[in-house]
Symmetry: C2
Amino acid sequence: MIKRYLLTPGPTPVPPEVALKMAEPIIHHRTPEFSKIFSEVRGGLQKLFQTAGDVLVLASSGTGAMEASVVNLLSAGDRVIVVNGGKFGERWTKICQSYGVVVEELKVEWGEAVAVDRVRAALEQFPDAKALLVQASETSTTAVHPVEEIAALTRTRETLLIVDGITAVGVYDVPMDRSGVDVLVTGSQKALMLPPGLAFVALSERAWKRADKPHLPSFYFDLNRERKNQADNTTAYTPAVSLVFGLHAVLEMLEQEGYENVFRRHARLAAATRAAGAALGLKPLAPRAPSPAATGLYMPAGLDSGKLTKYLRDKVGVSFAGGQDHLKGKIVRIAHIGYFGDFDIVTAIAALEMALTKFGARVDFGSGVAAAERVLVEGLPSV
Amino acid sequence: MIKRYLLTPGPTPVPPEVALKMAEPIIHHRTPEFSKIFSEVRGGLQKLFQTAGDVLVLASSGTGAMEASVVNLLSAGDRVIVVNGGKFGERWTKICQSYGVVVEELKVEWGEAVAVDRVRAALEQFPDAKALLVQASETSTTAVHPVEEIAALTRTRETLLIVDGITAVGVYDVPMDRSGVDVLVTGSQKALMLPPGLAFVALSERAWKRADKPHLPSFYFDLNRERKNQADNTTAYTPAVSLVFGLHAVLEMLEQEGYENVFRRHARLAAATRAAGAALGLKPLAPRAPSPAATGLYMPAGLDSGKLTKYLRDKVGVSFAGGQDHLKGKIVRIAHIGYFGDFDIVTAIAALEMALTKFGARVDFGSGVAAAERVLVEGLPSV
């Protein structure tokens, strides 16, 4: 008998009360009942995104909303700057290139944040760049890029700032309107504690102006059509009704908790995980700009992290993410995004301690857990 | 946001696949569909109870099956011997006395097993005792009584052995037929990983002979009527249909795991919990005969365990059981029965370490978890 623990940075665990909400009888989407829920969801999403503008709901994965940002704002032959510091930076490049958009890449070492000076230099070198595309949190490297500082550079220029906030929105403070982000994207299976299947995208006023003429060919991801429909509390095409039910419940939960507390929750679990990693002598992948969504840790030299994560998943029941591309076999990524609690971190670290031992590493049992507990206990309510 | 962990010795957690099974559409119970499931359940219960006889399914809590044992086998004025070493031993006495059965109590200090010599002496002192009633595992004190050794004494006498196996059956080896237990009782919310609501009772051949004439007044708990009905794969009164669906799934899971592995699983988690308690310097409640179902630990002197368990439940999300009667405020009981895994023990111990600190006790963070890990890692599959 194996109990399963999903400790990956997406999909993430779904709270039981949300799962029950999604199990409610399906209703038709062209009804006042659905529109009422959808209207409340729209309001909640504005708070989540910290924007006065529309946050559009798409039935797609986060990549769909990334693509929607590109096809509604760019044209073939346009030049863009892409910050590529991991698999998802690379994804911006691939999407743009699929449509003939010319990409100037700022390659960033995996695990590092892009230097603001490099961004400034690129904006000066390519003043015709129609957009700068970046991740807020680069899930593949567990590093964050300095989006607010980048926004301070783009908001006075013609270059739009398009941000993949998939493991950032609802994890830590990304004040869209206040900082001047032009496009912000997220997905349902991260901080929103839902199954995958919904994506969200919000545009600034100047981005909507840029989107008002047809750009790249697309039917499904036509954001003007969606915006018009969603203003009437409906969607252009069939929405993922059950996921919208779940989203309704989640937004209510998050507001009840208060977004400041939500951000504090993620920061605390991240700090505990990093402390545990340090106590175990595991080198962090993103020491200078660690994401509050997940923590990447190098495994001891010679230990294949792919084998370790497979062992943990298949034989112990604990799922971590591994590394991709040149980090394959070298790291594990432990998530703390969404419906994670103190004892998920304790579980993750205890599982890691035991698995490392099984793979021949020298581990002082309990030392990682102790370091995590020392951080966690500080945030526990008083007696 | 608080994630909830139910780490009490009943109710216990329900596996998600079982919960989904119980959420299937309800069917009528007087149908071939229900009878087919019920017939398979009856076969599975015989393996669970290690008996060739009927195991009857009752829609009641475990106490209902305890009462059924009394009312079908005893008469007012009969003398019985009750081993009373905790709340559930006391319950045997109360049930018997409610019906005018004369109870000779063998009082046992809480946390101790009854001495076999005392049982022998009582059987010799009261050769007219119609039954000896005992717990296999006394949940309130986390101690086990030596049922097989007691059965060796009763099976050659006229005194029937009636055993409350509520936190024993499916937890460790209780070979009913082989050891000569006359009545064995259990409930759904323990090793069977189900919600409360079902109870089970099996009788030996000589117990059925004793039950063939009317005894104490009862309508609902008439085991002869149930036996007749259940032989036809139906029940005398409306069965708890969804729970029977769940039971069907659970019995299949347990058989697939193999009962030897099930017993080993419980023993391993119990050993890890005891090791953690020892490492934390917490005195065990049942050092000589610890139950594989739950571990009782004394809290440090002056620390109110009731306040600690309330704090953990309400503010941290972790539910332990406390102590009852004279142990109230003195102990916590950590369960490892049913759908428990390694990381439930890790969670329990980490929660205890942090809570003890919050209540002013001196705790070496991670020391209990380390001791648990040292036991658990031995049982993990090889790489």
